[in-house]
Symmetry: C2
Subunit: 139 residues, 2 copies
Amino acid sequence: MSADCVFCKIAGNVLPSTKVYEDRDTLAFLDVGPVVKGHVLVIPRQHYDPITGAPPEVLQKLIVVVQKVARALIRGLGAGGVNISQANGRLAGQVVPHIHFHVIPRFEGDGHARNWVPKQYENPQEMGQFGGKIRDALG
Amino acid sequence: MSADCVFCKIAGNVLPSTKVYEDRDTLAFLDVGPVVKGHVLVIPRQHYDPITGAPPEVLQKLIVVVQKVARALIRGLGAGGVNISQANGRLAGQVVPHIHFHVIPRFEGDGHARNWVPKQYENPQEMGQFGGKIRDALG
């Protein structure tokens, strides 16, 4: 537990939350500032940050709960779509430094417009260079 | 394999891609319309859609590769942050109907602004109602 972490406090019941699911390792609760009402956060009880800091088996537990929650947003709220989002680092828009997945129900006319603007590589060579750097770092 | 699916064609090498990682079950390659250059897509070779249609063990394999790619974007490209995004359904902005995770490197001044506008519940009762419906659907 990280003493200053709001999600650790929620996991430890030091701060209240509207829980929708919990098990030994994982907790899901409503985001108090939903981008769409019904927006759920899925977190591990233990503090990890960012995604690269979590053991793979923790992520594997989280993603199964993310799927359960997505299903519940469709069945329980009648959502027509679901966005899943996970941000790492201030540059990525992360606010709370405790790994969390956003699971967001989508409805016709819900007013949540993702700002998704595809760009282009200058040329195939530039794309190849990006691919090579990532591939090398994965190798 | 779904005959009309562009990601099935990429997985089957019928269409070219700039691959950065592959194993028996999973493939990662550059998005040709990157929201930030270096934007990677992680997919299962097999066709599943949406997230609720994939067996949990497929998601577990995917999320481990997502983590590897996130690490490679930081190490290989010097990304200062990483966004992970996964969309289900047209309402959620999904275009290709084959489950995929976006792994997006973030850099200072990269021009990618997420349109993240937190709303509020009318009152604690409304929040409780949303929580109850989701909890019931999970139970």
